[in-house]
Symmetry: C2
Subunit: 217 residues, 2 copies
Amino acid sequence: MRIEVRQNILARNDEAAAANRALLASHDVTLVNLMAAPGAGKTSVIMGTIEELRSRVGIAVIEGDIASEVDSLAIEAMDIPAIQINTGGGCHLNAGMIGTALEHLDLEALDMIIIENVGNLVCPAEFDLGEESRILITSVTEGHDKPYKYPQIFRVADAVLINKVDLLPYCDFDMARFRELVLGLNPGASLFEVSCTEERGLAAWTAWLASAVGRVG
Amino acid sequence: MRIEVRQNILARNDEAAAANRALLASHDVTLVNLMAAPGAGKTSVIMGTIEELRSRVGIAVIEGDIASEVDSLAIEAMDIPAIQINTGGGCHLNAGMIGTALEHLDLEALDMIIIENVGNLVCPAEFDLGEESRILITSVTEGHDKPYKYPQIFRVADAVLINKVDLLPYCDFDMARFRELVLGLNPGASLFEVSCTEERGLAAWTAWLASAVGRVG
């Protein structure tokens, strides 16, 4: 019984995701779904990515949170369009929420929309939002064992950003082991080591992102 | 429609939680539900807590994860009974899962059972497992803005552990602001600053825990 309910929810979500995908394709806009645990640095990565790409890519951001609008206010302070979605308790965004947000953006003026999903390594992996790329951010402070515990989100990611590498000297994080675990689950994943605090590694990541979404130079 | 389904799920869960609570009361065993984001240090806190209390409190652990049994193996290596629950995609434990785990523990030999919930700051806050205390662990690397974004889990916590304080010199974490936000949501919460790496703050936390569950000295 619960399985049927769940299947219905996912089927309805897939229909809404297909509609988002068609709408975005008609405007030549790329949708990027950024997922991570709470506190991994999603907003900092988005802000760093905007700084790297804004001169050549028209960007907007959709912020997903249980509550609050602190993240969308931070993005708007950069003079970038930002839509805040508060899920009111929901642990992930769904395609219908994104469809509603898209109605409030000027798609003709945009090349890329970055979604900051709710901080959660579980359910966001299951809900297609109509995106072209799925990005997972992990931070070295979370430990290198996360691929064991949350395998699905590592499997569906096109790229994995390993954030907060400036804290590596103070953490028990085995980078070689982490890379091995990630690539064991997802051999095609691109991995990037970054530090938003020290602005390290963002150029390589954003070059990949611009290329992946067909917005090179 | 979705709301009704959700209400039914929560009502069934509450029945199972009440059964767990009655069973544990009849054996004079205290159940503690430990919640946190992925990588906040739940397993390290549990291991440190066991070391502090094992001489006077009979402890077992129930480990919840999407997949893997790395955490229960670590606990068993300490010669402490550990039951691993793999949710197979579910983003939280429910009371029925805990009821099944309790069948596999010798309740007469125990004083306290610590549950390590799935790493998630959202859904675990909504599911009563039959516990006496709810503990939230956050780490300073996650940032001090988490109470804004995940208010419900801060509201339901009896105690909040602020872990990884050894990393404070390297993080942009405002402790006074964090405490203010937590106590604004939950004036009765007890807060403890700890570092499992440097074994700091564990004595105060475990003294509170032993007292809260009526297992003083």
